[in-house]
Assembly symmetry: D2
Homo-oligomer: 239 residues x 4
């Protein structure tokens, strides 16, 4: 089936609080999902956010303000990809500060248009991967997937996957139990199934969107919506 | 363009706390979105949840437990539609109890499969409409859209729309200012634009999915995912 | 230490989707917390919401609208208690519809005043207990504790406790493993510690508030706030 | 009444995405709340997070890792204060990346103990202030207040306040309407009342906690909870 997805590009951004991807537990789940896509012919790029300088601020490029800002380069990777996956650890039940920062920087570009006049992220598809030691996969996913669809991404079925252990502090994804040699999370059927579903549905959705050149530019163009059947002119009562 | 969407069916469920749709402010925004779809040829059904008996419980049919349960009939409408829109008022910044109940009842069917072996909501698309007097459109949308994608719906770009007034208690959507005659919300460009975008993107997405008979059954089938490229067998390191 | 907390009253409301408390897994954790309080001299009342008829609607009493409404009686229990604990199962990562309903009904009374002119829930303290099989304790707690403080409750330290298993479907709190006889959750140190902390901090906080007759009525009275140092008259710049 | 609160210390952290407090709309609401406290005798310190170097990472002090980390100094301000207020703008319906970062850094200290053996934030009280142009005060407050109580703060009644405009892009708090000269938000009764209530309830709660030297160390001490009436030994059935 590999040929099917040839030509698709995916970018994963790991928003771990660890400085390097080698220390990140989340990275292990990212690689599993990325390797599914690579095996099926997708061109995958994984970015470890904290290996770059990403400035705070609701601007496209903050490098003029006295410090280095690697964001514009990262943004080009995002805009050049059909699939986007944001990966985040969970801290206190919420997505990481780095994940929030990445979303803010993407948001600063959300008013840009594609060649059809639609918002710039239209025609692309997004999902998320979450790991933690105790609780919060769904809450982090809500936040992330909401933001993605709000700026223009399409969210395919079951686009969130993750791993957490039983309530309370404990091992992280990929940690090895010293006594039994068991690796936490790797054998979790739910995590593996959801990660598989996410990867495949993102590929199916990206291909479907690419094959039909994204959404038709009708009823979703910032400067033209008043010229089609629109809410402003609809009766708020049943007609 | 109406012919384009002929054959599509949409169901809206208004999860207002008002007993009848006539009293519901949310209903006015529902009608605006529904009328866009009707104008474009979609067959639209609007259900006012509290005009039905919907039992609490994580079961498909609770009518055997001593009381009436209208849910199975509503579920048939949902399963027979290509587009689903959940509408909710905001109370204390959260979606209504009725909206939560509707999602729970839909969830009880989420393990069922379509004829391809995928979860039953695959191939359908969903959005949401939210109204309140002060705050919470995005928070309610996060909750609702997350649940929808998690059970198998595809979320198109900008699938949430709504209206709220300035911080603090105040008029609701569609209320009339006695002095000026102004109707609150009807002239809000942001609400009208987002409602228009939501309606059109749901129609585009539904048509796209219907035209290709939903998602290919590969990598997203509960009993078959282990037989394709899957997370269980992927290396958690870069290969 | 039992005497210390004599005279305090607590009400727990279990918002399980199960019709009877005997079937509810959440109930088992509720009893553990309640039994700590009982042992320490607190008068505890546990209400199983679905054993009562609670109507939908943002009204104090809906019994006039053609059906039975048990809420006003439950509200009296809440208003007569120093401590309130809302217990909820998790479904799709969110608090139950029943929990949402209970909060809505409490909210409908939130404009009432105590004898000092403060909102009616001032001087009381609240916490929450959450169980599920996979994920969402913190997200449910956010929603619930936010609502409680917003209507006037004081939230003491670590007022949320709960249990979930590892990611994915699995046993619920109190389920017995047929092979090993192990009871899920009962030996979880994190759950037991947090439940203990929650119960004791609610008792300490309730006693503290009761001993000083709630909050002084200054700066927090709906009709009098403009007469004290208030935001309206403060400089938005540093003075 | 000023003398009443003499001796109390408060720290506000403004988590704006603006580099300097002078550009921040949120700062204007922060000053209003701070000026209430100053007028009543509280010693107030306002920190603008982005005027400091705060490193990413779940560590107490990251200055050893090759870059400057101002966090330990900020943490001393927090630990030396009775009242903590986190202020955040809203972006895409969520609290800012800077707010998330501040909470993460505070969390890294949450395992430390006070002299009674309780977690380090016990005996202190917290609230939040949120501004945005359209939606999300309650959602941001849920996240922030949840985190605060979870690490040991007490949340008094109505500890969240904020301002947003009507749905859609628009003016921010403190912006001036060029035509009318009206300043957005300053006359909003709801915002002013809630800000006043928040400020006063934080002062009342801080004084109450200080007067009784925080919470009694019983049932809430990490190393001693098993020696008091605790959940581990309670019957999960009614006894």
């Amino acid at each position: 089936m590999a040929a099917n997805f040839k030509g698709l590009k995916a970018v994963f951004i790991n928003c771990s609080l660890k400085r390097s991807s080698a220390e990140s537990h989340t990275q292990k789940l990212v690689e599993k999902a990325a390797n599914i896509m690579r095996t099926e012919g997708v061109d995958v790029n994984i970015i470890h956010a904290l290996e770059h300088n990403i400035a705070f601020g609701m601007e496209k490029d903050l490098s003029g303000s006295g410090f280095k800002d690697d964001w514009p380069k990262i943004q080009q990777e995002i805009l050049g990809s059909d699939i986007f996956v944001l990966a985040s650890p969970i801290w206190l039940g919420a997505k990481s500060s780095v994940a929030t920062l990445v979303i803010e920087r993407m948001y600063a570009y959300s008013g840009d248009h594609n060649e059809k006049g639609q918002y710039i992220y239209y025609g692309k598809t997004a999902g998320c991967l979450i790991t933690g030691n105790e609780d919060g996969v769904k809450h982090c996913s809500m936040d992330i997937l909401y933001a993605m669809q709000h700026i223009g991404y399409t969210i395919p079925p079951q686009a969130d996957a993750g791993w957490i252990g039983e309530a309370g502090p404990g091992p992280s994804y990929g940690d090895i139990d010293e006594k039994t040699g068991k690796i936490y999370g790797y054998d979790n059927d739910f995590t593996n199934r959801n990660t598989t579903f996410m990867a495949w549905n993102l590929m199916h959705c990206a291909k479907m969107l690419k094959d039909q050149d994204g959404y038709p530019a009708l009823g979703n163009v910032a400067d033209e919506w008043q010229n089609v059947t629109n809410a402003k002119h609809q009766n708020p009562e049943y007609h």
